[in-house]
Amino acid sequence: MGLNLKVNLGNIELQNPVMTASGTFGYGDEFEKLIDLNALGGISIKGTTLEERQGNPMPRIIETSGGMLNAIGFQNVGIDRFIKEKYPYLKKLKAKTFVNMTANTVEEFGVLAKKIDELDQIGGVEVNISCPNIKAGGINMGTDSKMAASVVREVKKNTSHHVMVKLTPNVTDIKVIAKAVEEAGADSISLINTLVGMAVDIKTRKSKIANVISGLSGPAVKPVAVKLIWEVVNTVKIPVVGIGGISTAEDALEFLIVGASAIQVGTANFYNPRATIEILEGLKSYMKENKINDINEVIGTFES
């Protein structure tokens, strides 16, 4: 008896709901010796910017209770080198590539989208809007519904690819942001990005991370993520991709049950490089045990 794990994100189909989260899976190739990349539903690449970036000074990461802090600062090869050096490998995979991108002005988002539009073998773009808007005095675009919407409109104008918009959890009311990006034309929403955090070295009395402010991820944030995803699912009609602390099939199921159409695995890739594959296997076992043939029968079945 064949189990169906295919899920749809609006106009695109994933062979299964297990994706990798941006910044935790490089450009996929680094994992080829460790797992079968063709088994994954999707791969979101390291956040890509218009120009190559070197990122923040060291130290950039530190472990915390049940999680980790990072402030990488978008070290990446830039969109042109991505297209030349990384895309040819990714396009051959069965896992759909999502080009995660970020910028500091609305216009730059448009330029990036236009370049990505040329790539015919991707699942879509993933727009990381949690970035300071340089023109607007550094306000985080992901925390302001108007800015968020204008980024999405600009991206939509410049590409016909599926546009997934990635939201930050650091807001008072996620519903407002979710609605705004939906109205601006987003094809799907992914969340959560990291929670803002900080850690102090009590010996030096300095930050443990050079950039001072950093992002919290890992199992510690899972309850926050589940709650926000449930809220967004109940607010918008477009599909939602759940992210945040997922490291086991049980975790993934929590997100699917509250209504995520797919999930992304982030930090878990670091401590368990086989996490995605084990989640996939676990989903299948859960389906068999519960006599479910189609994973879509799990999605959104939360009883409140």
């Binding site: 910044g23 935790t24 899976f25 490089g26 680094e30 994992f31 010796k33 460790l34 390291k46 070197q54 990122g55 060291m58 130290p59 950039r60 990461i61 530190i62 472990e63 209770s65 049940g66 999680g67 980790m68 990072n70 990488i72 070290q75 890992g218 199992p219 930090t267 890739n269 670091f270 401590y271 368990n272 490089p273 086989r274």
Partner: protein
């Protein structure tokens, strides 16, 4: 590179707070290059979420050994593993030290636990000298950890902070002393605290000797995907003349004259 569960064969304190853990694994043993490391997943719940990088200390007939110092909760938990217990291991990782022709003499410069990756070199290479600095005689790892490696006493130069063994003072002073007399056909491999390695790079530069330094950074993934572990490395093709390279994947060994310290 492998991801597998190994079975701990030995995990023993060899000097105060310094442990050797060993396990049998043919694949890893055959794959290892000198100066590479592994990432260990210490399973004590979520207290140690990320893997911990530890150099490959020695390999001998499929037996791989790690030499580590207990400095925090991860290494503490590691020291509790008992013979027969399983441990998830990822590796060997990174680019190790280069292979050097026998006509060159390799000067190994180790500071404290930085001695860890040198055993394998001492075992497999003939033409070496070891400059080894540590705090106190109680931290001398050469006997406890590598008793079966054969060497001549003249190959070894020891310094301690308190003079309890060898010469009192900096290991880099010993290195310079030596290079002052003989700097031809030498190459330096070094591992230890940054402050020491920076000095090693300076001395190497001064005597026109090529140096390879093994850097340490806090690591997230160990395989080059998180960019958590970078070092500033010269690159004239980049706008600022340098780029951040990944210590785990592009290193941990870099040429001393290419590292920018700041």
């Amino acid at each position: 590179m492998f991801l597998k569960n190994i079975v701990v064969e030995k995990n023993k304190e060899v000097k105060s707070d310094h442990f050797i853990m060993s396990f049998k694994d043919k694949e890893i043993a055959e794959d290892v290059r000198k100066g590479q490391f592994v990432e260990l997943k210490i399973n004590d719940g979520l207290g140690n979420l990320l893997r911990k990088p530890i150099s490959i200390h020695d390999v001998y007939e499929n037996k791989v050994s790690l030499l580590y110092k207990v400095i925090g909760k991860g290494t503490k938990a590691l020291s509790k593993y008992k013979k027969g217990e399983e441990l998830s291991i990822l590796g060997p990782l990174g680019n190790g030290f280069p292979n050097i022709a026998d006509d060159k003499e390799i000067l190994l410069v180790a500071g404290g636990i930085g001695f860890a990756p040198f055993s394998l070199i001492m075992r497999e290479v003939k033409n070496w000298k070891l400059f080894y600095g540590f705090r106190d005689a109680s931290e001398f790892l050469l006997e406890g950890a590598t008793s079966d490696i054969h060497y001549e006493n003249e190959q070894i130069f020891i310094t301690t902070d308190n003079g309890s063994m060898g010469t009192k003072g900096f290991v880099t002073d010993k290195l310079e002393e030596y290079l002052r007399e003989n700097s031809q056909n030498k190459i330096i491999f070094s591992c230890g605290p940054n402050i020491m390695m920076k000095k090693v790079a300076e001395i190497a530069n001064q005597y026109n000797v090529v140096s390879y330094l093994s850097l340490e950074e806090y690591m997230g993934c160990g395989i080059g995907v998180c960019a958590g572990c970078v070092a500033k490395i010269k690159n004239p093709d980049k706008p600022d003349g340098w780029e951040f390279k990944k210590v785990c994947k592009d290193g941990p060994v870099f040429r001393g004259d290419e590292i920018i310290w700041d």
